[in-house]
Amino acid sequence: MGKIEDLEVFNGEGYQLSRLDKVIAAARANSVWPLPFATSCCGIEYMGSMGSNYDVARFGMERMSFSPRQADLLIVAGTISKKLAPILKQVYEQMSEPKWVLSVGACASSGGIFDTYSVLQGIDRVIPVDVYVPGCPPRPEQIIDGIMKIHELVKHEGMRNRYSDEYKAKLDKYNIEVNGK
């Protein structure tokens, strides 16, 4: 979780020397602020993971942000219908870089058991997703496993990733503008 490999710190008299990207990666990974976009049953399991038995607070994630500007991680838990898809895209666009998306549950990942006329068959039709957590609903341990994989991604983020061309190409596929350009 919090341990950054090969983070070497040289201590001196009144100063410390280290690699900037490793320090920033440690800071980001240990305090990811999620935006719980909880729609249905997976939302209740996510609320269960906020409780004291499974406790996401030990990852520094107990501060839920409902404002997209202040959130790092968009946790989409539950079924997304076609009526809600534009709103989901708008929330994703409003988040500031760097941002990650965790798709919790079968409905968010692929439409789940609801192969119907009104359900969006997976949120990766409208926004890019980083980690998928399968389950209907997934146990809180599985959700935390997904969160830890997000932490792995955050730790290896680097400083220039969001300005790269391949990131812009990825977002162009969804017709989304890159923030802060």
Partner: protein
């Protein structure tokens, strides 16, 4: 808790008031079900609400059914009413045709019928005359068909990622 009214007493009283407007009365699974003339439905429901002996004054449910084979009676609107005072339940059915699926709204009698009628319109296309705001409620506004009708598929016809052969359709 036993009901204070019996099915026989109720149907006798209703027939005594409305006679031939009651087209049929059955008791499937001991639940009184009457079919009434579509034009008299509002009047009957209002009388049921105000009648002293019956006081059937609570609307439990309102829904539609589509029977594509019955010519002239394709759509049914089913009202489930109950009397909390007498602990009695009643099911009232009316039928309309596909060409003119219009029914009187009962929003003036029961405020709770507002969304139930909108849902029935959204799913079947049955219009309710006198409804204050008859627009779609659960589906997208841009949808141009009525999904619960039997001729439409469950799945979205435009999806291209799932091969129907593997999904047993």
């Amino acid at each position: 808790m036993a009901s204070k009214l019996t099915n026989e007493a109720v149907i006798e009283r209703i027939k005594g008031q409305f006679g031939s407007d009651i087209l049929s009365a059955e008791t499937p699974y001991d639940f009184l079900t009457i079919e009434v003339l579509t034009s008299k439905q509002h009047e009957i429901i209002e009388w049921l609400k105000k009648d002293e002996m019956l006081s059937i004054s609570f609307l439990t449910n309102l829904g539609g059914v589509h029977y594509p084979e019955q010519a002239g009676r394709e759509f049914a609107v089913v009202y489930h009413l109950q009397s909390m005072v007498n602990n009695f339940r009643l099911r009232l059915k009316i039928y309309v045709s596909k060409e003119n699926p219009e029914v009187d709204s009962i929003v003036d009698l029961y405020v709770g019928a507002n969304w139930m009628e909108r849902e029935t319109y959204d799913f079947f296309g049955i219009t309710f005359k006198g409804h204050p705001n008859l627009v779609r409620i659960l589906n997208e506004d841009s949808m141009d068909y009525f999904p619960m009708r039997k001729e439409y598929h469950l799945e979205d016809a435009t999806r291209e990622d799932k091969d129907d052969r593997f999904f047993g359709r």
